[in-house]
């Protein structure tokens, strides 16, 4: 049990680091979506961008995160 918790902690630290490394506009959109759970429309109003931009920023943010996350998991599996 403690071992599993340790792994989870390092995973979430790694993820936090990847999120922190995202360009601000991407990070802002992602955090408003995942943390504040706002709709695309609300995010568009808050950030003053069209809904289309919110969608493309989310896709870019998640694309970058997913690549970093996959690399992290592969590295973890090897070690």
């Amino acid at each position: 049990m403690p071992a599993a918790m340790t792994i989870r902690k390092s995973e979430s630290e790694a993820l936090q680091g990847y999120i922190a490394a995202l360009p601000t506009a991407f990070r802002e959109t992602l955090v408003l979506r995942e943390m504040a759970d706002l709709s695309y429309q609300r995010i568009a109003e808050i950030t003053g961008t069209p809904v289309g931009t919110v969608m493309s920023r989310l896709a870019r943010a998640r694309g970058l995160l997913r690549k970093a996350w996959t690399r992290y998991q592969e590295k973890e599996r090897r070690t």
Partner: protein, 254 residues
């Protein structure tokens, strides 16, 4: 539709933001395209990882209201300051209840330093302590009252010393909960400024000289000594906070 077109649908699907027709179209595509199906599964796994409680606390309703209140009005939209600075500013002034969480959201976006979660927690602890009646559980400038008060409440009672003659009077202490530890918080003052000194055990940790961090007007000094970790948090300037640290360390030396 091509796989490139599917990217927008994929995220809309994850977020529940596409209509039924597009959802059906997306699901049909997944049946025939293993690459998109795999990407969708990976994105779902990533979303689960992002939403785990260790990473973010989910935003409660009051935060959503706070964010909406911080949405720029047409006049304010022309100002250059981002919306989250207003959110953070409101919180710091104490307007509205329970906005500490909003502050961590704003800090997260503003600084982009998720690794600073602990520092944000410490600042939040410091701010909480400034609210009425929450500063001290044991109100005393007498170190011989404050130190025994911690005995039995914590595994390791922190070193307590009054520094009134050096301009940093001890005003009391309380228990706090930082980074999943019970922590002692010693409260000192410097003129009108409050210094919260958080202390908790760090078994096996090597001594570390103080390191200064700054966030949105707060200074944080972190050091380790005698297998305890120390964080001093204040809106006091860095020079005086370092002076406090030096005095405290010197006078509590074994």
């Amino acid at each position: 539709m091509s796989c490139a077109d599917m990217t927008a649908l994929l995220h809309g699907m994850l977020d529940g933001e596409i209509d039924a027709i597009n959802a059906v179209q997306f699901e049909r595509h997944l049946e025939t395209c293993e690459a998109c199906a795999a990407e969708y599964r990976r994105q779902q796994a990533l979303r689960n990882a992002i939403r785990q409680p260790e990473l973010f606390h989910r935003a409660p309703d009051h935060l959503r209201h706070a964010i909406e209140a911080a949405i720029p009005s047409p006049a304010a939209a022309r100002s250059r300051s981002p919306w989250w600075q207003r959110l953070f500013g409101d919180w710091r002034l104490g307007a509205g209840a329970s906005l500490a969480f909003a502050a961590s959201l704003a800090l997260f976006i503003a600084t982009g330093t998720g690794g600073d979660e602990l520092q944000q927690e410490l600042i939040a602890g410091h701010i909480r302590s400034l609210q009425a009646d929450h500063l001290t559980d044991v109100l005393s400038s007498n170190q011989h009252t404050v130190k025994p008060w911690f005995n039995g409440k914590l595994d390791v009672a922190p070193p307590v010393v009054d520094l009134a003659s050096q301009g940093f009077p001890l005003t009391g202490g309380r228990l706090d909960y930082i980074d999943k530890h019970e922590a002692a918080a010693l409260v000192y003052r410097r003129a009108l400024h409050v210094i919260n000194l958080f202390v908790w055990p760090a078994p096996g940790a090597a001594d570390r000289s103080p390191e200064l961090f700054s966030h949105e007007g707060y200074n944080l000094l972190h050091w380790t000594r005698g297998e305890s970790t120390f964080w001093a948090v204040s809106d006091l300037n860095a020079a005086e906070l370092k002076e406090f640290q030096a005095l405290y360390t010197q006078q509590t030396a074994p």
